[in-house]
Amino acid sequence: MKGLRFSRKDLCIPYGVFLVLFVVFPLLLVVYYAFTSKTGQFTLENFIWFFTDGTSLKNLFYSIGIGLITTLFCLLIGYPVAFILSKIKSAKKSILLLLFIMPMWINFVLRAMAMKEILTLVGLFGKYNYLNTIIGMVYDYLPFMILPLYSVLIKIDKSYEEAACDLGANSIKVFLSVTLPLSTSGIISGITMVFLPSMSCYVISDTFSNGKVTIIGKLIETWFGPGDNWNFGSVIALIMLVIMFVTTLITDGLSKRTKTREEEL
């Protein structure tokens, strides 16, 4: 009987198996393919190709650009929304919050298609591919910006703002010197949740630009699919991984700095 007893540690086993099978093993495969040629020999040729071949690098920069612009617009639209929602006291609040969150309940491909129809209706579709892609991205990722911002803003003790006002700050100064700095952690997690996915979500760019805008995610798909070069695909995937890692490092560093100040208060 004793030998059959489970300890708490054993609960990790299912996830451990999953992790090895579906994360560690594929990752090793990607690394293997990135550093080998088609015939299986070790090579750095794939990386040299990526950085010398103009299209790949161009696509990478465009992806970063689209990601940055999407994040910026999400922040510019999402912050005021989250701020106003956090200030509403009445029962209307939950309904309003629901209105902003509800789009997340609908399949995002369906949402993208609907938005595309609207853009066609107003005559934008087919004319401005990059603009349409960004509109689509902002539309799809806005709730991911609002939610973390809202959950941080709602937690800020009202007495900080009152104290600032009491010490002579008008509402604009109160916002700039107290509310905004105290919501940094929400801004950071909002950025993380919008920037990284918007760089790689090619379904949206495909839908809104009719396949004319190629972002980095699309490139990977092409090499693994019709392009039939797993080595090139793996290199791009690995570079994406590095970018994500670096972004996470930067945002983590930022949020740690703000967190130490927020702690215990």
């Binding site: 900080y160 600032a164 010490l167 700050a169 008008n170 100064k173 105290l182 703000t258 100040r261 702690e263």
Partner: protein, 510 residues
């Protein structure tokens, strides 16, 4: 010192804050109800009351965080009712300090200074000397912050993060952050509530010293009566959004205006009494001399401080009883004496053991008489074996199931509670409450449940208030009636069983 506005006759020139008819409603219910009050320049005034009495709301209206639903607030005779907080020369020390967590100690204290504009002499483009609004320079700010930190005994703390400070240190920084702006009024919202007892005592002394040093007006909010009495020049006792009493700590303690103030301000014995003659009051079934002049037969509250009760031998005492508890409290003994069915709290430096039989006397100037807001008759009673309630020389039908929620009576007269417990109510002590309008007076002394004589009739505008005193126990029934009666009429009373409200005595003790 402040007085209630209606009472004030002399001209006072140095009112710094004046509230006139201020009411604040939240969703229709008043948190503050028609307050009239002024604060003199330089005084230390405390709003004292239990939670929910409206003291913090009043403070927040002075700070500008809340707008009165009705009424006006004046600062130096200027209407500031609609002025936003950042334009008021008033600073607040918040209950939980509200120090900005993203700024260090220096930045916190300098926050207000950086925003401030001061009048200084300047020169316009034509070379004329004019007054311009200028910011403080960096060195001026640094100097002021340093001074403020010195004031609160936390020099060299400038660079510290506020999150690393202890509660007491945060408290001091919060005070420094407020006083560095040189406000005309400092508002303190239960500032010592989060500190431990020893720290609280220290801060009380320091705050008092700071008040004297700065010479500005302090408005302090607390629910701690000891804190209020020891620090303030003036205490404003509040309850349910209304001012109960305004006065010096001595006034409030020695001459409480009503039983609430007496009870809240310190331990007191509050007895129900009746005026029986010129400066004579009857309570504990005994007539005492007193110094307050009230109308004969008026129902009053009698307040006696525990330290004003003198223990003597049984023969010498006005009343006597048995000590039922005696606890050593350091300087004195806290004893409880049972006189008949009334408990009397006594403080004395001399110890009397539990079980000892003693008498007590109370000096006539230590008996404080207060008007009673008379809304219902209250009696001590008990349930007899027929599930009727006995009080005031009578036996009344009543609904005993109201003593336990969801209970019912079985065939044998036992009470079955919601949980199925079987209770015999015989001889259970209860508090009985009967409304003034619920007592029916019958013109003979046979048909009612209790009988007595009418001792007083007062016309109250649209009805008469009649007091019937029972023969043996001399309990009084106060009833409102439309009919005229004569004094000394022999009558009896009847009370509908559903109008008799019962409460278990044990429950009340909780």
């Amino acid at each position: 010192m402040a007085k209630e506005k209606s009472m004030e006759k002399e001209v006072v020139t140095s009112k710094i804050i004046e509230l006139i008819g201020v009411t604040k409603n939240y969703d229709g219910t008043p948190a503050v109800n028609d307050i009239n009050l002024y604060v003199r320049k330089g005084e230390f005034i405390t709003f004292l009351g239990p939670s929910g009495c409206g003291k913090t709301t009043t403070l927040r209206m002075i700070a500008g965080f809340e707008k009165p639903t009705q009424g006006k607030i004046y600062l130096n005779s200027v209407d500031i009712t609609d002025l936003p907080p950042y334009k008021r020369p008033v600073n607040t020390v918040f209950q939980r300090y509200a120090l900005f967590p993203h700024l260090n100690v220096y930045e916190n204290i300098a926050y207000g200074l950086k925003l401030k504009r001061i009048k200084t002499a300047g020169v316009d483009k034509n070379g004329n000397e004019i007054e311009v609004m200028a910011k403080y320079t960096k060195s001026e700010i640094a100097e002021k912050v340093k001074k403020a930190l010195k004031m609160v005994d936390l020099e060299d703390f400038e660079k510290r993060s506020v999150t690393t400070l202890s509660g007491g240190q945060q408290q001091r920084i919060a005070i420094a952050r407020a006083i560095v702006n040189e406000p005309e009024i400092l508002l303190l919202d239960e500032p010592l509530g989060a500190l431990d007892l020893k720290m609280r005592k220290e801060m009380q002394v320091e705050l008092k010293a700071m008040h004297e040093k700065l010479g500005i007006t302090f408005i302090y909010v607390t629910h701690d009566q000891e804190e209020a009495l020891s620090m303030s020049d003036t205490v404003v006792v509040m309850k349910d959004g209304k001012i109960q009493q305004i006065g010096t700590p001595q006034d409030i303690y020695n001459e409480p205006k009503n039983s609430f103030v007496a009870d809240f301000i310190g331990e007191s014995n509050i007895f129900s009494g009746t005026m029986v003659g010129d400066r004579k009051v009857k309570f504990m079934n005994k007539v005492f001399d007193c110094i307050d002049d009230f109308e004969k037969n008026e129902k009053v509250d009698v307040v006696v401080r525990p330290e004003d009760v003198e223990i003597v031998s049984v023969e010498k005492g006005s009343v006597s009883g048995e000590i039922i508890s005696s606890i050593f409290k350091g300087v004195h003994y806290q004893m409880t004496l049972m006189v008949g069915k009334t408990e009397v709290e006594i403080q004395s430096t001399k110890c009397y053991e539990k079980g000892e039989k003693v008498g007590i006397i109370i000096a006539h100037n230590n008996i404080h008489i207060m008007h009673k807001e008379f809304v219902s008759n209250v009696y001590d009673g008990y349930i007899n074996k027929n599930n009727k309630v006995c009080f005031a020389d009578g036996e009344f039908d009543c609904d005993v199931t109201q003593l336990y929620e969801g209970s019912y009576l079985d065939d044998e007269g036992y009470l079955i509670t919601k949980t199925g417990e079987k209770i015999d109510l015989t001889d259970v002590d209860v508090k009985v409450e009967v409304g003034l309008k619920d007592i029916e007076i019958i013109d003979n002394d046979v048909d009612g449940d209790a009988c007595g004589s009418i001792i007083s009739i007062v016309y109250k505008g649209d009805h008469y208030q009649v007091i019937i005193r029972t023969d043996e126990e001399e309990e009084d029934f106060v009833c409102d009636t439309e009919y005229t009666w004569n004094e000394n009429d022999r009558v009896s009373v009847k009370i509908p069983s559903d109008k008799i409200k019962l409460k278990l005595k044990v429950e009340e003790a909780k």
